[in-house]
Amino acid sequence: MLYLELFIQGLIYGSMYAIIAVGLTLVYGLLRILHVAHAGLFALGGYLGLLLTNATGSLILATPAAAAAVGFVGMIIYRLCYQPILDRPPYVPLIASIGLFIAMEEIYRLIFGPYGLTYLDPPLQSQITIVGINLRTAEVTMVVVSVFLLGALSYLSQKTRIGVAWRATVDDPQIAASYGVDAVKVRYLNFFIGSGLAAVGGIFVSLLSNLVEPTMGGVPSYKALAIIVLGGLGNVTGTLIASLVLGVIEAFGTIYVGDLLDRDAIAFAFLIFVLMLRPTGLFSGR
């Protein structure tokens, strides 16, 4: 029973990682940028979701509104911050992105205060029991919503015209452009979807802890960076599997080697171990 419980806890964490990491891996697949400021968008999603929920009293209204707003902010960040430095060596956008992330955290701290905000009437806090295991409604909802959104994303990329254009641009931007695909439009779409997903992740994390704070983006997004590397940078399916694997490894690791390493160190020890065996990640096609 303990194993099953740990396994399920791992999958819950894994689904949270997945929804953050997919946006990062989309950006990496298209632009070869390690988009650290994604963490800032994740936190922004948490803030907007909480503020809108407190204002309207409806989480169901607040979540898509926050996701759309954060999606637009993501597009603006692409246009103003990344587009002009795309042809530079990779450390340039990386450090620019880190600078941007620090500035975003500070803006949240200055506007909303250092101690964070809480829900007036926290939604989804009841308990439900599934196969004898007590889970919180927020956890179950998070898993369901993640599966739904990632399924929708997969449908979009496989079955629609824009999805085909998107995959073509990731594969070979020049050939895609010669077939009339507007690469700039694809990039905007990419940032909109990735940032929107991060916002949903931020809202669920804030529901689980009933707290949004300026630094909430830090640790989950460093782990998301580890996950997209594990999944083979830019590989969406690999990223999803890596998210779940890492969630489960952490859940078991904290029980069995928790005296030696803390949760974050377990994740990164696993990352380094895997990379030594497979230097381009678990599921690399490159």
Binding site: I85, L94, I95, A96, E106, Y222, A226, L261, L271, M276
Partner: protein, 286 residues
Amino acid sequence: MGIYEISLGTVICINIILAVGLNMITGFCGQISLGHAAFYGVGAYTAAITAKAGLPLPLALLSGLILTGLVGIIVGLTSLRVREDFLAITTMGVGFLFLGIVRQQEALGGELGVSAIPAHGMGKMGFFLFVLLLAALATAFSLVIKRSWMGFAFDAVADDEDTARLLSVDVPAYKLAAFALGTALAGLAGGLYAYFARLIVPDDFGFITSITILSMVAVGGIGSVFGVLISTVILTLMPEFFRFVSDYKLLIYGALLFAVMRFAPDGLAGFARDIIRRFHAKGDGG
């Protein structure tokens, strides 16, 4: 000079040793590292513990330097397996792994760190001059390396690893050498910091510290020793300079980091080169 200026000068010199060391790895040899603070930490903890065990200052510093260099070689081995963005995330992972291990070890003081580190016994001014001398030596050493055969080999590895290998440059040996030298300097800086602060906690050596060191290198102009010196002085003084707006100093720091990468991606050194070139061009024309 008052006590305040002397302390500030000491911190600047410690940062110079750190930045010059990272510049050897990232600037000269092209191996990006997001975990330099971990080596700084290994040096600080080693020196602190050996000093508390009764070792005199030179031996404590030396043991920090040597142990850190050895750890650096081990971490450098990963750079033989993984490259570029994968290496960036791996070194970031090394940083979190270091923190995770230190936090869980009672022998290293856990979250509380190591306190009551023996005094250096040179007086504040004497210690400042000692650190200044070491910083000058580290800078001179790095200039000598840059102009030596090893510097050329580093340059070749940074430019194009595969071509360098084709020209029978022993790429793995030079990568390990860069890691050994650069991290040993970080170890020295860590030892000096332990004696300077006399109290070290895990958070002194976290991801933000790694990023701060990397920004000193990148803002200076990756690879340029003088650029790195100048930017280290500026970036260390900047938070002090902005004390009158202390609440906004991190915001300004993040925004400037972003702005430099966005508008002058080659750093201060590249910016200076540009101005000189324009000046010459004007002279030729007229």
